[in-house]
Symmetry: C2
Subunit: 252 residues, 2 copies
Amino acid sequence: MPIRRSTPLDDEWVESHMCSVDLRLHILSQVPFFCGLPQGDLAKINGQFIERGYEPHQTIYYTGDPARRLYVVADGRVKLIHHTLEGKDVTLDFLQPGELFGTLGLETEDAYRETAQAQTHACALSIGRQEFRGLLNRYASMALKVIDVTAERLRDSQEMVSQLSAHSVEQRVAFILPRLAEKLGEERPIGRLIQLPLSRRDLAEMAGTSPESVSRVVSQFRDQGLIEAGRRWVAIRDAEALQAVKAGTGPS
Amino acid sequence: MPIRRSTPLDDEWVESHMCSVDLRLHILSQVPFFCGLPQGDLAKINGQFIERGYEPHQTIYYTGDPARRLYVVADGRVKLIHHTLEGKDVTLDFLQPGELFGTLGLETEDAYRETAQAQTHACALSIGRQEFRGLLNRYASMALKVIDVTAERLRDSQEMVSQLSAHSVEQRVAFILPRLAEKLGEERPIGRLIQLPLSRRDLAEMAGTSPESVSRVVSQFRDQGLIEAGRRWVAIRDAEALQAVKAGTGPS
DNA sequence: CGCTGCCTTGATCTTCTTCAAAACGTGTGG
DNA sequence: CCACACGTTTTGAAGAAGATCAAGGCAGCG
């Protein structure tokens, strides 16, 4: 009964190394950290960044690589992954343009703790961590912004810990989907569509469960009319009902 | 066979509101954020902090309270908890003196997302978030330190997400114990003793499992000689073996 | 002593993973 | 345009892991 169209996702195509100087300036000025800086400074900062394009599934850096750079997503989506020794992967986050990854501070650790991978065609800007530190030292407002986004990420991560600790698979999926939709989604007739090709496996790695379990839950939600989902995409149809499931208030 | 002494923990007793001005200055100067500040500035900063003592299990703030202050643990241990709607509690972290909690930035959110509770007799200093922001603005080195510790906490939290997503209860306990021991522990003849009265329930809420399951795993580890544990305490005897269990390399 | 919590241990039951097979979509090449 | 082949998804059934329930033991304390 539910019509499963072929992918309703927008085709995003980011040519490798496509970012022109103007585009870069534009992107950097969009990034929250640089708001309020004089135009000249922005241009100088821009010069410190290196850009690079990535193919879908191409790795930006691996766990264990020397952590020398800080990255900003310029275009596309980037996935952060933890590999376990048993070979399972855990997806920590999907990043959208403007978000930071890589190494933030002059850390004691000098190896990346996670792997960063382009989920779509993507472009990222990066800067050496010493240079970034220099910027933070010079521009206090920037440091404050970095603190804000990092603190927010920390809270999100802790919320995830809470979900994983105390909730069922059904609840965890009902938690993940709206979160992704809010962050990466776009309003559509079908509902809020997650702008990212997401396999059952991708969702499973986010929710800490198996692809099969995700499939069952997704089917159930679809039958209940809470979501609309196809081969590699999901749209949220009834956010309140999902909220109820997530909280344990809802049906089954 | 294993001797279960009565609590080998040091009796820590922190009188409410005991912190003298000198002690406060000392504590603040110990806190990594204030390293390298001129002594005069430190005294001025000190004046902006309010101190308060707490009884064990006394709540410092509740989830949902308006998030107006930033706290620094001065003495004792503080526990950060997530409450779920079903009534389960999840322990996010135990904090030791020098660590921050409360609200960091000028956040969009204005309610605490977690509950902070004294685990032992404790003393905490606090400052209004606007004032704290003022300090960060003035002292760039302080902002950098805050970024460092926050980024470190984020990585820890993400590591926890990974553990919860992909590992068994046995592995999770083998992960939690050394982490607590390293952070809060002290070297003893029995092994590295966790300086905190920890019930099975406390451990369960940290590892995302039930007290009964923790009890079984703890008994098993004790029988294998990996740890020494009593009524409300644990000491690590064989860190390497625990490491192996945590990684799935070790024996069952 | 006897009481009160905490801890342990066993038994049962639910949930979820795993394995396996079939159905489906998608893209390909005839 | 159709048929095929591949990877993904769905679904079922078996099995494992862990939660829950319940009872008994142990320590500390009045």
